[in-house]
């Protein structure tokens, strides 16, 4: 292969590391998005035999947001294989035990149940907060856009922004706020 062709081959098939911030995101919606990057289906050169999946680093999985009453109602079943070894764990309990499990199970269950699944899951790296080892963070070259926009907390606005924000009316000066 000539030098130019070698460079082109590398540029086309190199594995890219993406980073995804899971704060305020629905893990099940995020799973659908992330599995595309893990399987390589976001590339026009995709082929199941091609091994074109990318790495995805998910940060802040501690702050994911499940819809509705799923924190209280969603249960995860596990059986150890031994008699009497069935456990039903609620989502909030599982999240307390291991904050990465909910997202990991969501991604695993969103994939097709074929033999590729376990290998593809190896390329997913979930961290509960922003502390990612620098070796992994150094590889990252793309950030995946969040699905749900993250709202800004009212106490995170600076004083200048609050003052500059356009007001239609204001309380009268002698009004007492209860």
């Amino acid at each position: 292969m000539s030098v130019l062709k070698r460079v082109q081959q590398w540029a086309t098939f190199a594995r890219i590391w993406h980073v995804y911030d899971a704060t305020w995101q629905n893990p099940f919606q995020s799973a659908e998005l992330l599995k595309k990057y893990l399987m390589g289906i976001h590339k026009p050169i995709y082929h199941p035999m091609n091994d074109c999946g990318d790495h995805v680093i998910v940060i802040n999985s501690l702050d994911i947001a499940l819809p509705g009453n799923e924190w209280a109602k969603r249960v995860y079943f596990h059986h150890t294989g031994y008699p009497g070894g069935a456990t039903w764990t609620l989502a909030w309990e599982l999240h307390r035990k291991d904050p990465t499990m909910i997202l990991k199970k969501a991604v695993y269950n969103s994939m097709d149940g074929n033999l590729q699944r376990r290998y593809t899951m190896e390329r997913l790296h979930i961290f509960p907060d922003g502390n990612v080892p620098p070796e992994l963070m150094g590889n990252v070259s793309n950030q995946i856009r969040q699905i749900r926009p993250m709202p800004k907390r009212l106490d995170h606005y600076t004083k200048e922004e609050v003052e500059k924000f356009p007001k239609i009316i204001d309380y009268p000066k002698d009004y007492i706020l209860r």
Partner: protein, 148 residues
């Protein structure tokens, strides 16, 4: 020798049984164990293999269509467009490229594929259909009313 029971007489089924069975053994040459040497075992497996080969021809077409769709959708998403919008936009512009060529272009000719997505986006803006994510029309597409 005189056989007292009829069962011990070997029946001759026909003169070309050997060649009839050889046709099956030829197809079973790469099997393992009794499957490649014994006729009654081999015939069942060869029949199954032939049925799979026949049905596989339809499945191969399905697999290839799925792959082409995946490639086109991936190419569209890279340019912020829907597959349905691309199809509708190209159809309304009277561009009749099939999914095979679209997939080939998406994989091998990215600039040409971008041209097609730009044309489709411009068409969605001009006709007012579909759901294009960015609000602005693509830069540099000049239709001069020709897309009507």
């Amino acid at each position: 020798m005189v056989f007292t029971t009829i069962v011990n007489c070997v029946r001759a089924r026909g003169p070309d049984e050997f060649w009839r069975k050889r046709r099956i053994f030829k197809l079973a040459a790469h099997y393992i164990g009794r499957r490649r040497n014994c006729y009654t075992v081999a015939i069942k497996i060869v029949h199954r293999a032939l049925v799979y080969a026949t049905k596989g021809r339809q499945l191969r077409k399905q697999d290839i269509t799925e792959l082409r769709n995946a490639r086109i959708i991936a190419g569209c998403e890279q340019h912020g467009l829907n597959f349905n919008d691309l199809r509708e936009g190209l159809l309304r512009c009277n561009i009749m490229l099939n999914r095979k060529t679209l997939a080939d272009l998406a994989a091998w000719e990215p600039y040409s594929f971008k041209a097609l997505t730009d044309i489709a986006k411009q068409k969605t803006k001009e006709d007012g259909f579909g759901s294009v994510k960015d609000l602005q029309a693509p830069v540099g597409v000049i239709t001069r009313g020709m897309s009507k």
